[in-house]
Symmetry: C2
């Protein structure tokens, strides 16, 4: 009741971290990751939500990987035929990434099974109203604050 705002913030963050870790572990324990690791799936999923080819730099912002690690993972995914990499006509330094048909197919296949697992794990711990609230709070957390200290 009398917790300081700072304490509240740290407690909430720790709870989020724990929930994340617990659920990730349970999801990883399912047997749907034979053809694609969770990290690889994360990349394909992120790409699947982009209607147009994306810059690698943009992907780095959404995926929890360093830029070199992502660069090499893209190499591997290209090697397996799931991703296409083309030069960006608007910027000679950059590359544009997109899913191939095969990549889209495997993302859908794995994603479908993964969604079932997610629902199974989350649905019976939170009711619909709580799910909406959680989603809203997490969206607020993820919004980029402009740090104007000027």
């Amino acid at each position: 009741m009398g917790r300081s705002t700072s304490r509240l913030a740290n407690d909430a963050w720790e709870a989020l971290l724990t929930a994340h870790a617990v659920l990730i572990k349970q999801m990883a324990a399912t047997d749907i990751w034979n053809e694609l690791s969770m990290r690889e799936y994360d990349v394909l999923y992120t790409l699947s939500k982009c209607p147009e080819p994306v810059r690698a730099r943009e992907l780095t912002r959404h995926v929890l990987l360093s830029q070199p690690a992502l660069s090499r993972m893209i190499d591997r995914l290209i090697g397996r035929g799931f991703i296409a990499r083309d030069p960006d006509p608007a910027d000679g330094r950059g590359v544009l990434l997109s899913l191939t048909e095969q990549g889209r197919a495997i993302q859908r296949r794995v994603g479908g099974r993964h969604a079932v697992d997610i629902a199974g794990l989350v649905r019976d711990r939170l009711d619909p109203a709580e799910l909406r609230t959680l989603e809203e709070l997490c969206h607020k957390l993820a919004t980029d604050h402009e740090e104007k200290t000027s």
Copy 2:
């Protein structure tokens, strides 16, 4: 409004994943991780919250690392003098882990700075009531459901 419960569950999970990734990236960007990586800090922090020595198996459940990776990370942290590992008198297979004084000191030092960062990142995105709600929902998410399908 008309989203199915399964859809709600998946959307909420995605929002949580995004919030986690965004905040982790911002925290990693601070310059407090010179003496301890975030993963190492996670281990020391988890240990710091245990009043008594803990089994390695128990740590594996709370930290997002595989059992072999944790085993070797413990080796390194012992080598640096932050952790002590002793045989469990109650179980010849197990080991008991605890922070050394030095380990507790560095955890407190890094943890203090980290807590400031957390508060700064989280506090101005959510108000106290929202923080409490988020913490509660995440706790519910992390509770171990007994899967009684019998």
